[in-house]
Symmetry: D2
Subunit: 329 residues, 4 copies
Amino acid sequence: MTSESTTTALDRTDPEREIAAAAKRNRNWGRWGSDDVRGTMNYLTDDLRAAAAGLVRSGASFSLSQSFDMDGPQKGWRRRTNPIHTMLDTGTDAAAGIQGFPHGLGGADDVVSMPLQCSTQWDGLGHIFDHGVAWNGRPAQEVVTSLGDHVTGIETVANGIAGRGVLLDVGRHLSTDGELADGFAITTEHLLRTIDAQGASSAVRRGDLILVRTGQLTRARRHGWGDYAGGPAPGLSFTTADWLHDSEIAAIATDTWGFEVRPNEFDVAFQPLHQVAIPNIGLFLGEMWDLDALAEDCAHDGIYEFFLTASPIPVTGAVGAPVNPIAVK
Amino acid sequence: MTSESTTTALDRTDPEREIAAAAKRNRNWGRWGSDDVRGTMNYLTDDLRAAAAGLVRSGASFSLSQSFDMDGPQKGWRRRTNPIHTMLDTGTDAAAGIQGFPHGLGGADDVVSMPLQCSTQWDGLGHIFDHGVAWNGRPAQEVVTSLGDHVTGIETVANGIAGRGVLLDVGRHLSTDGELADGFAITTEHLLRTIDAQGASSAVRRGDLILVRTGQLTRARRHGWGDYAGGPAPGLSFTTADWLHDSEIAAIATDTWGFEVRPNEFDVAFQPLHQVAIPNIGLFLGEMWDLDALAEDCAHDGIYEFFLTASPIPVTGAVGAPVNPIAVK
Amino acid sequence: MTSESTTTALDRTDPEREIAAAAKRNRNWGRWGSDDVRGTMNYLTDDLRAAAAGLVRSGASFSLSQSFDMDGPQKGWRRRTNPIHTMLDTGTDAAAGIQGFPHGLGGADDVVSMPLQCSTQWDGLGHIFDHGVAWNGRPAQEVVTSLGDHVTGIETVANGIAGRGVLLDVGRHLSTDGELADGFAITTEHLLRTIDAQGASSAVRRGDLILVRTGQLTRARRHGWGDYAGGPAPGLSFTTADWLHDSEIAAIATDTWGFEVRPNEFDVAFQPLHQVAIPNIGLFLGEMWDLDALAEDCAHDGIYEFFLTASPIPVTGAVGAPVNPIAVK
Amino acid sequence: MTSESTTTALDRTDPEREIAAAAKRNRNWGRWGSDDVRGTMNYLTDDLRAAAAGLVRSGASFSLSQSFDMDGPQKGWRRRTNPIHTMLDTGTDAAAGIQGFPHGLGGADDVVSMPLQCSTQWDGLGHIFDHGVAWNGRPAQEVVTSLGDHVTGIETVANGIAGRGVLLDVGRHLSTDGELADGFAITTEHLLRTIDAQGASSAVRRGDLILVRTGQLTRARRHGWGDYAGGPAPGLSFTTADWLHDSEIAAIATDTWGFEVRPNEFDVAFQPLHQVAIPNIGLFLGEMWDLDALAEDCAHDGIYEFFLTASPIPVTGAVGAPVNPIAVK
């Protein structure tokens, strides 16, 4: 099996070589034309979306969004803070009768200031570069400047991220308490074992939106965030790059800050799987999703597939964007 | 017909009395219990959501979101600006090799600062008060303080706004060019005539998510925003309050800044229909939605109903929130 | 001595009574007319300012501002973050030749988002209320709404905070290492002993701008901020209220987050000296000033007085504002 | 006279050649060493500062800052907005007794989000580049990245901008109503004629901080801002570059958005004088200062020199920064 053999070969001391090899094996540049801006989202066709709507039975809906507030995981690193929400007008002012509106009208209004990747979010294709090269082989400086991402801004996928969602509850199936330990690297074998344990409804197909639950959010909720943002966490192993490519999924999200295992699997490294997945595979990664309520429901009825709508707020030129994903079963 | 008789009676000089009467007729306080925080969203049940998923045929999806950028309609009034998007890291920096990441990784990251109602959005139930009273009869000062909406914050409906959407393309059916004039007040009769013209797929039922296209956005896109934010626009007449209540819809959105007709229909007034709809009916109002592409498709196939997912970003305590609504046909 | 007797009497269990008594003894309401908005800044007259300019000898200048960046003391408590500085344009973009300006011009531009009291700052008179009452006896709700401070906004003292500065280096004179311990309450006696130790140049007079160095910033700089923002720190004792009033100083600043000693001197309390000083005395308090370089110089030449200009950025309606104070000796 | 002959020769069609020539004539690179970060601020020595303090007579102080609020001149161009000031806590909340503080304490707190050059400000030396080169000959990409200005950030001059200020009220001396017309280019001859008209107190010397009043702000205040930010305005002629260099002033500020005349004096151009002044001369430029009250006083007593303190808020790495300049006469 690819992932096993790759795992065996992984040289912790040479990320450059490992990344280059994985990137070369899995590179999708040109697959959807030289002017493509949607990467693996191309796999998610109208036909697949229509079929996915057919999965809805009870109509129960689940928001997969964490909260957007000051209690979030950000610690200020790289100027990433939690969302700062302030009021422009309040009910207190309205009740005090000082707003100046006619006929008894009162109003409240508000503002938010936040990094676009502070809470539940999609990484856009302009978020990560491989040696100065962005998705589809474009020079990074021609894609993302101080004015934003002129080519693959998140608005380019504003209308399409709705289709078949599949939950892979790795935390539940590979641990006794539903929570993988920090530093646990989820390999392709782990993913396949989880699929096998969950049954037919979790078969992964082209165009799917895959959700991987590690259980780390469950733990963070219980213990507090600590040094969560960037600190140790379970996550996907670098060695899943081939599966991410070969499975032809449209997107994949986890319940952790950084998608891949932390610390990373090389001695000196920072998010090496991102470097293969985003600029080379053209894959959309979701981070900090809250999969717990959905996971409870899936464990209860044994059905791990659903209709998932996860359309980001289309901030023009954004390299990532907040989303409130809705799974309907 | 209710709206006609009400229209006849509307006294332009006495908004206080008209609003009080409409509020009394249509007040839903206590309807879903004294601790309710979801208002008309209670109409949208799992059963209705499941049935709505059955409307999907082709799988074609439409984003109903306007862009989130500096080209938006805001003019600074009441400190409402357009979204300010800035970069924390860029592709230019990555290409210059100055980011300090290992193994050739480069990254881009970004931040946004924006009023929560700057572009496509839902008004939350804490957005408007009637004589210092919020939804379900609560004192405004006990609901929304400087810390936000403690009771009906937008996060309380984070998981539920997905169901049957119906487009009422009033612009198309009541004008020759698809665009209602600024100041045009859409009455209940206009809505009913549009439903009649569109046919069976646009019958309005309990729990529906109604989208009213005026065509004003089409015009703004052609001519520029001008003094759009708060300026003259077509929109719902104050006299539709009874229909909004009696139809038992879950929510309603338009393609304009302020949902209701501007200037308002009283001599001295500011958004009187909001004062009835939000704190009294408990109705969710959407504003600045982009309905044009969807409207084209509906006009083409004659089908005006679809599966609509429109879940706001759950900024904790927000009185309104951005949303990227996705209609799937 | 007032402070000693007051200290003796301080009942840790009854802040309400102690605060009420101190407020009554030291209340300046009406002293400068019923419409006054400048409080103790009235003491700082043109004559005193002219005399202060005469203190300048060498022309050496000292910035008393801490840095404004993400390395600051804020931890997110009460939504107070460190300043978030982002670029609108960069040199990297300019060098890449992608900015589109003519004739070889390139530019960089930037934005900041920050609490007005995140770093070196003045508290405005609208910052603190005593039982719902603001400076000069005004109801708090008539002074500061969601739109800001309509009466005593920091812009009302934009032009006047320049005059005789006096450094009281309590840290140096009351400790062996120049740093008071966290929780050390500086009493009036401590202030007087410091003045006595420093000599004639530090005599405190009407209209002066007093700077109290505790040495806590020196320690924070060495050890990191820890839980600094709101955590334990040396600072003025509640019992200095009478001296603050009787000395007729125009303003007073420290090198700590919260001016007064932390934890506060009552069993259950939050910044009780603020409650007397700002709304009752009408006194301007400065926080998080960097007094170390100035203190070195004063210790060297034995002269503790100087010309101090400390004019806040006049954000209209602000209840506090950043300042870069400049001392010239 | 230099400016006259230069003016004669100015070729409107060839900004590249004119700028290159002016830059070469006036370039100060290396003048203060290869590692210099303070440019012309080096001219302002302690001795000069001490002498300037001796100019103070009456002690009258003038704030030269415009307001920082939504009524400012910014229109959103290049994402430059006016300051957005929001409250974290209010007096209304305090009066309603809902803040949760002990012993009757109430508080108000606030936040600002603003471009650093939205109102009264200094341009830092990293603000403008000449063909990708920053002050002192450094490559722009090594100076200002997405993380800010690593070399010449405004904090490098946080402690020094205090010295002799001289007002040149060109508006008063070269027009009948005190206001130069938009598009009026102030030449060196105009500056010299103003100095001559004003008398001995306005002689310009090495290390001075020069303030040039055009009167445009006076007009904007009367008529509203219109398209002020970047629109037509009086200002310094490109041909003053040599005087700016030869006079050895430390800094110069005007009461306009862009310092130099708008439209600029070449057929296709954008702020060509900036391109010479900042990266080549190393000169600090101030913009949007309010000189009106000071100008009134100077006209009244005939004294145009004063002690000026104008220290920017030291946002680390900023390429410009807000300032509340204080002139004391």
